[in-house]
Symmetry: C2
Subunit: 222 residues, 2 copies
């Protein structure tokens, strides 16, 4: 099964149409504002000016800056093929390598750096970033559900916790320690998460479910 | 073996003496400036004013804001007793729980949030934060060296990589996903890192040593 989100660059997703052009212009302007000014100083009215679109149009369509940022995250993501292998380790390598690949995309890196920076200070940025990352864990959870179905990991294994374990060493290097990441780091993280999942470490006690608080992350532009 | 850095609150470390009072005043002023303004807007001259100490005195003693921040990190750290157990898992639990404990200290959390935020934008903040964290991994490495000596993990296991694996899920929750952490998260991370280390996963290929680039992190005030 091939997973969304999209692999298309902004603008190529819904070819043609005024609505598609509006969306592309707003997302590109938002990314540019985030890179230039950071989340704290990004304003919808400046996005409107840069995109040459009325601010009221933007508010009507997205409702808030947070929702634009969530939509942008979807646009900056990559397609990852999960559930096609017969091994949790292979699927988790795919997840971990996607994190490394995204980090090599200057636009995605700029977006995520702005969000990580802002989230330490802004509750709305925190909400937007948490939603995006929970949504990505949801998408990747199929790898864990398939592994449970195959009997490779115990029933009750928490998919979000397995994905967290897979990506954590990569985010630590990229955004906390400031160290390079490469495919070898991705593969090592995937193998470690697989070992722990097989050992039953991510079967969490009842009541400590660690998925998103809401069943669906906000997707203002489905 | 009981490890430094200190467990004392700022001001209690070197009782008495003008030098000790100067250091305490500067570190307290720096923390207050970081919390109020973030790293990017923290200036040595404002620290000097707040601490009622001449800026020239501060420059003579520390040399730069980065060095004050590194010194502050040491002051905000906690003593952790490592190498007293006979089990890598126990020692890594101690390390992981220290991360959780530090996160519960409002001063330490404010300092680290300011640094994580700044490090995405400022190379000097990145250098200061990387130095502090590499220094902490150095201190914790005794747990891995002891485990190698006992034959619990393979010779050649990279101590820094084991410590990264231990703390990564906690930092991911705290600073990337914006999720709570508790002792159960700490213990799970420690067990996962132990499993992977015992399996030989952190014996890295020659030439990929992952310790600090310099043998010693800067310690302007040893």
């Amino acid at each position: 099964m091939t997973q969304q989100p999209t692999s298309h660059a902004p603008g190529s997703r819904r070819p043609g149409g005024r609505t598609a052009r509006t969306r592309t212009a707003v997302l590109e302007a938002t990314l540019a504002e985030l890179v230039e000014n950071g989340y704290a100083d990004t304003r919808v009215d400046r996005i409107a000016t840069r995109a040459n679109i009325a601010a009221t149009t933007i508010y009507r369509r997205w409702g808030s800056l947070e929702n634009i940022v969530v939509d942008l995250a979807d646009e900056l993501a990559v397609t990852i093929g999960l559930g096609e292998s017969a091994s949790l380790e292979d699927d988790l390598r795919t997840v971990a390598r996607a994190v490394v690949t995204l980090n090599e995309d200057p636009a995605h890196r700029a977006w995520l750096q702005a969000m990580v920076s802002a989230a330490t200070r802004s509750p709305s940025a925190r909400t937007a970033l948490s939603s995006v990352l929970a949504h990505r864990r949801d998408i990747c959870s199929v790898a864990v559900r398939d592994a449970i179905a195959r009997g490779e990991v115990p029933a009750g294994t928490d998919p979000h916790e397995v994905i967290r374990a897979t990506v954590a060493p990569l985010y630590l290097r990229m955004y906390i320690n400031g160290e390079p990441v490469g495919p070898a780091d991705a593969d090592r993280a995937a193998t470690a998460a697989t070992l722990a999942a097989r050992a039953g470490l991510y079967v969490l006690p009842p009541g400590s479910a660690t998925g998103p608080a809401t069943p669906e992350a906000p997707t203002p532009e489905a």
